[in-house]
């Protein structure tokens, strides 16, 4: 019963937030749209994204091809739609991986302190010492050109972000008396951390993750843009922007503008959702 009232209160708060902050509402709708496209994929695209048509290359937007066609005559709208799943998938995968590993490492370091904390801290410092994008490039180059490695590289360069955040959050809570109470209650250190501390930092960590998603999309697309990871003809926003970029001078703007716009929209949407989530969890920060 208490759960029901708590859930009801959460939704009432969420509703209030959506009404008060129109931008979050807009972002929420965009997110729903992106998810539908990601799930629907090829089924929702008007054309096959890989079918070339030499008779209709580099055609501008028209009723038949809303976003125009590329140099091989492929329908850009279909390619943008089909790429959604891959781009979101890579970002979500990378964020999930770094969230899981980073939170665990940071929480353990923050709770135990001492040499474990020192070791984890130094490893994270080492990762941060590299220009992150260059490090990602290096990882993909070393491990091989594949989607899985893009996800892995993006996850690794993101790791310090989660580890440091989790460490700071755990450090604050470690001193609270409810943690002492858990120790008094016969909980072993691992259990104190896993059952009593970590669940309480998850909401704030989730906000960070959603803010981070936009950045992960950009990173994955960026790697593809410079030719690492996803290989043509697979549709992916970064590659499409890269392919279209050579037509900037000749004026075929639609080749890079539409995939680029999809990228911007997704990043924008995740950042706004992150802000909205933060307000939902911590009403004090609401302005």
């Amino acid at each position: 019963m208490a759960d029901a009232t708590a859930t009801a209160a959460f939704w009432s708060e969420a509703r209030h937030l959506a009404v008060e902050n129109k931008l979050t509402l807009v972002a929420g709708l965009i997110l729903v749209g992106l998810c539908v496209l990601a799930i629907g994929g090829a089924a929702m695209a008007p054309y096959d994204p890989l079918t070339t048509d030499v008779s209709a290359t580099l055609k501008g937007p028209s009723l038949a091809h809303w976003f125009g066609t590329d140099a091989l005559g492929r329908d850009l709208l279909s390619r943008v739609i089909v790429a959604t799943r891959l781009d979101l998938g890579m970002a979500v995968g990378a964020v999930a991986l770094s969230f899981l590993c980073g939170t665990t490492l940071g929480a353990v370091g923050g709770y135990l302190g001492g040499w474990a904390d020192g070791l984890i801290g130094r490893v994270m410092d080492t990762i941060m010492a590299f220009p992150l994008f260059v490090l990602a490039m290096g990882i993909v180059a070393a491990l091989g050109n594949s989607v899985a490695n893009i996800v892995l590289a993006t996850a690794i360069i993101n790791l310090p972000f989660y580890a440091r955040f989790a460490r700071a959050e755990v450090n604050v809570r470690r001193e609270l008396t409810y943690v002492d109470a858990a120790r008094m209650g016969g909980n072993a250190p691992a259990r104190v951390l896993a059952r009593h501390i970590v669940p309480n930092i998850l909401p704030t960590m989730a906000v960070q993750a959603s803010l981070n998603l936009g950045w992960a999309i950009l990173n994955a697309a960026g790697l593809s843009f410079i030719g690492l990871g996803v290989r043509p003809p697979m549709p992916e926003w970064g590659i499409m922007v890269s392919e279209g970029a050579s037509y900037i001078i000749s004026g075929e703007w639609w080749t890079f503008a539409f995939p680029g716009f999809a990228l911007v929209l997704a990043v924008f949407c995740f950042n706004l959702i992150g802000d909205g989530l933060r307000d939902l969890i911590d009403p004090r920060r609401r302005t």
Partner: protein
């Protein structure tokens, strides 16, 4: 009455850096304190005097730097903290913390919070037995059963304080350590909680170590009172005798500083001077020197020992028992 908790020469020192060199902060310095079965001992003093450190040492949340800690005859101070979690004494010593909000896990319902120690410490594995104990504790602190599925943020301050007490008594401790249990509460809630604690003590036959900065609160509930100053117990005695004839000048100053409408308009001499630093204090000087109104030459060359007086008390002052 047999002794339940017996702290001997208990010390807690922290290494600190100040002025470019490392020193030792003497949080608790060579303290002897015994609590008998069923007894309630109050521990009072200013913030930073070490009273909360003693509470945490006695609760085995902190490792002492030196000294012995005997619980019902066993030296529990010798058991490393990590292993103490699984010792039978873990359930026998429990703590009620100061801030009822901070001491409750925001993600645990009332029931889950009270059940957590019962499951781990009285590991019978029998769900019905656990539940029965939890309900008994919740009933004992006068918390309506309807609140059992609520989260801390859905409770009032007084209700949260009751949950903190229920959680501590659910495992049937023999010693309950109360660390400023009412100082974060409103007067109206404080009186309710104090009465509840007084009642539970007789009903559950527990011993209390009651830590507080408020002599008036301690006076109501404790059989004996120990007054601390800078890591040392400077006076200890039965409540009645200590309050009637306080022997240590610091105890007197504490009593005179307790607000009382009857003293309206009176000019009372207050403690002047600055307190001695707790970092590497002079072992041959009285800790109260520098603030003491009665200080004389001997005080800075000889640390007064806690010595028994004719009344039911002991004080660490060269002049104790000499002055009126």
């Amino acid at each position: 009455m047999s002794v339940l908790l017996d702290a001997r020469n208990l010390s807690k020192r922290y290494p600190v850096r100040h002025g470019g060199r490392t020193g030792q902060l003497h949080a608790v310095d060579d303290v002897d304190l015994a609590i008998a079965e069923g007894e309630c001992v109050g521990l009072v003093g200013e913030s930073g005097c070490g009273k909360s450190t003693i509470a945490r040492l006695a609760a085995r949340l902190l490792e002492p730097s030196a000294g012995r800690l005997l619980f019902a005859g066993t030296d529990i101070g010798a058991v490393p903290l990590r292993r103490f979690t699984t010792r039978p004494e873990r359930a026998a010593i429990q703590v009620v913390f100061q801030d009822p909000t901070e001491s409750l896990n925001p993600g645990f319902t009332v029931f889950a919070a009270v059940a957590d120690p019962v499951r781990h410490l009285l590991g019978t594995g029998n769900a019905a037995a656990v539940e029965a104990r939890v309900w008994r504790a919740i009933d004992d602190v006068g918390l309506p059963r309807a609140l059992a599925q609520r989260y801390p943020h859905q409770l009032s301050g007084g209700q949260k304080a009751r949950v903190g007490i229920a959680r501590a008594i659910a495992v049937e401790p023999r010693l309950l350590i109360l660390d400023e249990p009412t100082s974060a509460l409103d007067v109206s809630v404080q009186s309710v909680v104090l009465k509840l604690l007084g009642e539970l003590r007789t009903r559950r036959r527990m011993s209390y170590l009651f830590v507080s900065h408020d002599l008036d609160v301690v006076r109501l509930i404790c059989d004996r009172i120990a007054v601390m100053y800078l890591g040392k117990i400077i006076e200890i005695g039965t409540t009645e005798s200590l309050l009637r004839v306080p022997a240590h000048p610091y105890t007197r100053a504490l009593l005179a500083a307790t607000p009382d409408p009857k003293r309206r308009g009176l000019q009372i001499a207050r403690l002047a001077g600055t307190a001695t630093s707790p970092i590497d204090p002079d072992p041959n000087s009285c800790r109260f020197a520098g603030r003491c109104p009665l200080e004389f030459s001997r005080c800075s060359v000889e640390m007064p020992a806690l010595r028994p007086l004719a009344t039911d008390q002991a004080a660490a002052c060269h002049l104790a028992g000499v002055l009126p």
